[in-house]
């Protein structure tokens, strides 16, 4: 009885191996395909702009069946993206790990050389959009324009609270810009994620923020918060009443990339696969509507063009950090 069972088992295993082998070889002849679920790392907390974005992309991929294996988001919010960057750098299966990034992609490795992360070693998959920043205050403050904001912040001095998303993050850079440009001394208080920052302002726990539109939209539409000015080249369609800082005579424009990167060491075949997937995501009506609704800007950048963009932005951020004294030149 036992030997018969063993023989049957042996035949079964052999048959399984053969079919498995043919299946694998059949596939590689066509193109690279993921063989297990793809980890989609989010370098920000749940509920923040990057998180919502990752989950939107995930569902677009599922809806249009753009990947044969599921894409599963994982949040690694620690230390302005440091946790996620280290996680990606040490990832043992680079072909199945992609990440949605912001500008902390450049600044966090500069500020923490101990991490040993170089953003330019990551695989350039797609820049899906550039997010915009506005200066926000609570409606109860009665502040209606940048002049009134400057007057109030000057009077409050160090008691003026600017809430943001982490030390040396995008929000911190913008706060430093405002402090320098208008001679202010605002106090910067970091929080975990843009959603929490937005809530601090709506609950009057902070005096101002530099949230992205998508984070503040709910409170804005409810009439709780006001957008004073935008850090963009041109006025945003959703906030026509808010002038740009350029119009106000301060030549300062700042965008945040919403990009998808592959883990360092990702094979060229896998890169090509993901670039194809994200090109399709970009072209879906869902993505185009989302960009319009959340007032996202910028066109799709991939491969070498994206790498060139990273190199440029990396230098811009290095200069900004040196200027603010966060790193040495």
């Amino acid at each position: 009885m036992k030997t018969i069972f063993r023989k049957l088992l042996g035949v079964g295993i052999a048959a399984g191996l053969v079919t498995g082998f043919t299946a694998v070889t059949g596939k590689t002849a066509l193109a690279w395909e993921p063989v297990k679920p793809i980890q989609f790392v989010v370098m920000a907390g749940k509920g923040g702009g990057a998180d919502k974005l990752a989950r939107l992309i995930q569902s677009i991929i599922e809806k249009h069946k753009l990947s044969s294996k599921p894409v599963t988001p994982i949040n690694k919010p620690g230390g302005s993206g440091a946790e996620a960057l280290v996680y990606m750098k040490n990832h043992k299966d680079a072909d199945h790990a992609i990440m949605v990034t912001l500008n902390s992609f450049y600044t966090t490795p500069m500020r923490q050389p101990r991490l040993g992360v170089d953003p330019l070693t990551f695989a350039p998959i797609a820049r899906m959009a550039e997010d915009t920043f506005l200066l926000w205050v609570n409606k109860d403050s009665g502040i209606k324009n940048v002049d009134e904001f400057v007057a109030a912040a000057k009077a409050a001095g160090n008691k003026w609270i600017m809430a943001g998303t982490g030390k040396a993050s995008e929000d911190n850079l913008l706060t430093d810009f405002l402090n320098a440009a208008y001679g202010l001394n605002m106090k910067y208080v970091p929080y975990k994620g843009g959603g929490k920052v937005a809530k601090q302002l709506a609950g009057n726990h902070a005096n101002s923020t530099v949230n992205n539109p998508s984070e503040q939209l709910g409170f804005y539409e409810a009439g709780k918060t006001v957008a004073l000015a935008a850090f963009t080249d041109e006025r945003l369609p959703l906030f026509k009443d808010a002038p740009t800082f350029k119009e106000l005579g301060k030549d300062f424009v700042y965008y945040m990339q919403r990009s998808v990167v592959g883990a360092p060491g990702m094979s060229a075949d896998a890169q090509a696969f993901y670039q194809g997937v994200f090109k399709k995501v970009y072209d879906t009506p869902e993505w185009q509507t989302y960009m319009k609704k959340k007032s996202l800007q910028g066109e799709l950048l991939q491969g070498d063009a994206l790498m060139a963009y990273w190199k440029r932005e990396n230098e811009v951020h290095r200069k900004m950090l040196i200027k603010m004294g966060a790193i040495k030149g």
Binding site: Q39, K46, G47, D51, K52, A54, R55, L56, Q58, S59, I61, E62, K63, P70, T72, P73, K76, G78, G79, S80, A82, E83, V86, Y87, N90, T108, R111, Q112, R114, L115, N158, K159, I161, G166, K167, A168, K187, V189, P190, Y191, K192, G195, K196, A198, K199, Q200, A202, G203, H205, L217, G218, F219, E221, A222, K224, T289
Partner: protein, 506 residues
């Protein structure tokens, strides 16, 4: 009256055949997901989120909310039967649920958990229906000093308990705090406490890894030692008479139900908190207010009822900031929030005005989900008990394997599996040396909420600690917490004083 009209419209939406079917399906999936260690409601909701594209948004959220609810019921099952918390929200349920099961009273614990979950769910949905918009503004008023004050209160409920050895309790809390400090520092963005320079310690210890290690592995080792290799079998049975007398006992704990529901709902509303701190705090308060706190940890029914009522109430509560503020009150609602964005709904204060069908359909579905969850859960209890009668020599390896899988599933890192084993040994040693484990678990859950709140408060106030006392909401909470914290010391001094005056008189 307008409210009743809206709610009845909501029920019409919830009772459409498709929606009703999805609610029942969601509850069943949730029960399973909650009962499997490592697979909590977060994973369940996240995995199934993309599938909800096939149905309209209102049906989709009803399904996911039902799943969330079912998981709150299901988490208690493995907590009680195996001593492994099925989900982080059910950790507090192991404290007394497991001892009850070991004493052959698993039926009592399971029924108590199901009924308390029902009570917590229903009471909180009623509160939600009546007070959603005003409560949203309360959630907004909670700034950092208020959150920190609440965290001190939570710690105080655990320290200021008579019965346990206070020095050991404080020691246990300190261990928990140190462990919760591992990872990245939120204010400076630097890694800290990278123990032994291991890469794995560059991120914080996942709570489920810790809970499964300490409870699953530690508990199993402890039981093996106690049983000394004998084949132990649980005497769990269920009969009509037993059930009747159990119901009577459970009914007698109505105070713990009400307290757990109210506290859980409130903690759930606060952004950043969620069902895990809510259930732990409810356990602490139940123990503190009990006539005989020494029964807790040894199989007190209130110790099952309070956290189970609280975690269901908190899951309803955490929907409130999600819908009205667009801020998740718990990890699961964070995923749901992502879903709302995908479905094209803008969460925020205006949602109640612009999407009445969606909001009230969801609220009505919560009533329905609760009812189905309690019925399905109770119907399955005899099956669970039959499973529990398996000899421990068979159950132990099963617990071990489930713990391993659960530890790996939550983070997908082998490092965490090793860490879980080490923590399991640590948990076993703590039990052997008679250190209470619960305070350490509490510290690990609350530490990461308390620390940033403390530092952000002090940054805003310029280092002035009075910010916790002179604000209208934070002040009273802090004072109550401090009184509770020093209650044992005050009692100690008072007793000494009374004794010395007596001696002087005599």
């Amino acid at each position: 009256m307008e409210l009743l009209g809206l709610l009845s419209d909501g029920f019409l939406v919830a009772f459409e055949p498709l929606n009703l079917g999805l609610i029942v399906l969601g509850v069943v999936v949730g029960l399973f997901v909650g009962a499997m260690p490592g697979l909590g409601s977060v994973n369940g909701v996240a995995i199934l989120l993309p599938m909800t594209f096939l149905v309209p948004p209102a049906s989709a959220i009803m399904f996911l909310a039902a799943l969330y609810y079912g998981a709150m019921y299901g988490g208690a099952i493995s907590s009680i039967m195996l001593g492994i918390p099925g989900a982080s929200t059910a950790v507090a349920t192991t404290f007394d649920g497991r001892p009850l099961a070991m004493q052959g009273e698993a039926d009592k614990a399971l029924i108590a958990a199901a009924l308390a979950s029902f009570a917590g769910g229903t009471i909180s949905v009623i509160l939600f229906t009546l007070f959603a918009p005003p409560l949203a503004s309360v959630a907004l008023d909670f700034g950092d000093p208020e959150i920190f004050a609440l965290m001190i209160l939570a710690f105080a409920t655990f320290v200021g308990l008579s019965g346990d050895d206070i020095a050991k309790t404080i020691f246990s809390i300190c261990i928990g705090m140190v462990m919760s400090a591992i990872g990245f520092d939120i204010i400076s963005g630097e890694p800290r406490l990278v123990l032994f320079d291991l890469i794995g310690f560059q991120s914080k210890i996942n709570f489920l890894v810790l809970a499964i290690g300490i409870y699953g592995i530690g508990e199993m080792m402890w039981t093996i030692e106690v049983s000394r290799g004998e084949t132990m079998m649980s005497k769990a049975t269920i009969t009509w008479d037993r059930t009747m007398s159990n119901l009577k006992i459970i009914w007698g704990t109505w105070k713990a139900w009400l307290m757990g529901s109210g506290l859980g709902f409130f903690v759930g509303i606060l952004p950043a908190a969620g069902a895990t701190p809510g259930s732990l705090m409810a356990y602490g308060v139940a123990k503190m207010t009990a006539k005989d706190p020494s029964r807790f940890g040894k199989g007190a029914v209130e110790g099952v009822v309070a956290p189970e009522a609280a975690n269901n109430a908190a899951s309803t509560g955490s929907m409130l900031p999600m819908l009205t503020l667009g801020i998740p009150g718990s990890p699961t609602t964070a995923v749901l929030l992502g879903g709302m964005v995908i479905w094209g709904l803008q969460p925020g204060p205006r949602l109640f005005v612009t999407e009445t069908d969606f909001v009230w359909g969801l609220i009505a579905s919560l009533y329905a989900a609760n009812l189905f969850a309690v019925i399905i859960n109770i119907a399955f209890i005899p099956l669970f008990l039959w499973f529990l009668r398996t000899p421990f020599t068979i159950l132990a390896p099963l617990i071990f394997v489930l713990s391993m899988v659960g530890g790996y599933a939550s983070t997908e890192r082998m490092f965490d599996v090793w860490l879980m084993l080490i923590l399991g040994v640590g948990g076993y040693l703590m039990r052997k040396l008679d250190y209470p484990v619960a305070p350490a678990v509490l510290a690990i859950v609350l530490g990461p909420i308390a620390e940033p709140a403390l530092r952000q408060s002090l940054l805003i106030s310029g280092g002035d600690a009075m910010v916790f006392v002179n604000r209208p909401i934070a002040g009273p909470i802090t004072i109550i917490a401090l009184v509770l914290l020093f209650l044992p010391a005050i009692q100690f001094v008072w007793r000494k004083y009374v004794r010395s005056t007596k001696q002087a008189a005599g």
